[in-house]
């Protein structure tokens, strides 16, 4: 495959190395000339110096024949423009559409990227924050696996005595729409949870939920503090 990478930072660097070792044809666009030189010295890759959001430069780097365009620059707005240009300008007349992949830093930007048709998103911030959160919070939710490009996750919760779910039927929990309790383990036996099943302390519940709803699922099953969302916008005047 011909893969065009925009952004030669830490992610871009390792991505280029991995893709080359897998035998792909790779080109990189990077705005810092020193980074360009370093990567060109180390890898057998076409390095283009300049602004990867420029339609002219993307064309020069062969965007029209790229199978995949990966935007892993540091700023979300740049990655969005790269994907948009690749998709909407250089996709014309191709039998197979260009697949676009973008890195997003602020998980709140995910909605817009999806709406604009970016095929896959890598949210480094959200992934790291989730992992740290799981490490910090004991007896909380265990993250088993990720499905559907990170959209769905499978989690497990062992219900403690103080869980708000204990003594309730599953129907009464009011789980979010995209959440399903898949299985329930009680005293070494596996049960299929039904709406009328009453949850008990010590139950191990496995659920599949939407990535965005894990906090709500945790609140219902574990019952803990609402996570602090970082703000930081000061209103003047």
């Amino acid at each position: 495959m011909y893969i065009l990478v925009v952004g030669g930072g830490k992610i871009g660097y390792h991505l280029v190395r991995t893709l080359l070792s897998e035998g792909h044809e790779v080109a990189l666009i990077e705005k810092d000339i020193r980074v360009c030189e370093q990567i060109a010295e180390r890898f057998d890759v076409m390095v283009q110096h300049g602004d990867g959001t420029s339609p002219a430069l993307l064309a020069e780097a062969g965007c029209q024949r790229a199978d995949v365009v990966v935007a892993v620059a540091g700023r979300d707005q740049d990655n969005l423009v790269v994907c948009q240009v690749a998709k909407d300008l250089y996709d014309a007349g191709r039998s197979k559409p260009i697949r676009t992949i973008a890195r997003i830093n602020d998980p709140r930007n995910e909605e817009l990227f999806r709406l604009q048709g970016v095929d896959a998103l890598i949210s480094v911030t959200a992934a790291v924050a989730n992992m740290i959160d799981l490490e910090i919070t004991p007896h909380s939710m265990v993250h088993y696996l990720t499905m559907q490009h990170g959209h769905l996750i499978m989690v497990e919760v062992t219900l403690a005595d103080d869980s708000p779910a204990v003594g309730q039927t599953i129907a009464n929990l009011n789980l979010p729409a995209d959440t399903i309790l898949v299985t329930l383990a009680r005293q070494g036996k596996v049960m299929l949870p039904a709406g009328h099943t009453i949850l008990e302390s010590g139950d191990e519940v496995v659920a599949i939920t939407n990535m965005g709803q894990q906090t709500e699922v945790r609140r219902l099953l574990v019952g803990e503090r609402v996570p602090v969302v970082a703000g930081g916008n000061i209103r003047t005047s």
Binding site: A56, D76, Q77, V85, D88, N109, N233, I234, R235
Partner: protein, 134 residues
């Protein structure tokens, strides 16, 4: 109501001009100094923050805005702000400062109007030199 993102030279100029016409103007910029340079005569609202941040735009009451102007120096930020305003908040008129003619064409598709100061200035200079024809 009009929201202006980017309080550089162009944003300030627009804010003062539109503010004088008794229009309800809100200005957003990440730099406090830029906002302060609007001076006391500017009576509109000022919000410090990034225009691509949905929470900042909500603070600016974007759902009530009739016009959103993205006129920062950073073109890609303008593009993303404009897309947020149009696609997520459905602001009726969204105008973005975009220089690259190819990008201008691309974002017309998303009902974003564009202004290119470079092209506009070049056109004006051309008319000055060649005389006003047509």
């Amino acid at each position: 109501m009009i929201i202006i993102y980017g309080c550089g030279q162009m944003g300030q100029h627009l804010a003062r001009k539109l503010g004088k016409q008794e229009l309800n103007v809100t200005v957003i910029d990440p730099e406090r100094l830029n906002l302060e340079s609007l001076g006391p005569e500017f009576k509109g609202e000022m919000i410090m923050g990034l225009g691509i941040d949905k929470d900042v735009l909500k603070k600016a009451h974007i759902s009530e805005a009739e016009v959103f102007l993205a006129v920062a120096r950073d073109i890609n930020t303008n593009i993303m702000c404009a897309l947020v305003a149009k696609r997520l908040f459905h602001v009726p008129r969204v105008i973005a400062r975009i220089e690259d003619p190819t990008l201008v064409e691309l974002f017309c598709k998303f009902q974003i109007e564009t202004i290119s100061p470079t092209t506009a200035a070049a056109g004006q200079i051309e008319r000055m030199i060649l005389g006003q024809k047509g």
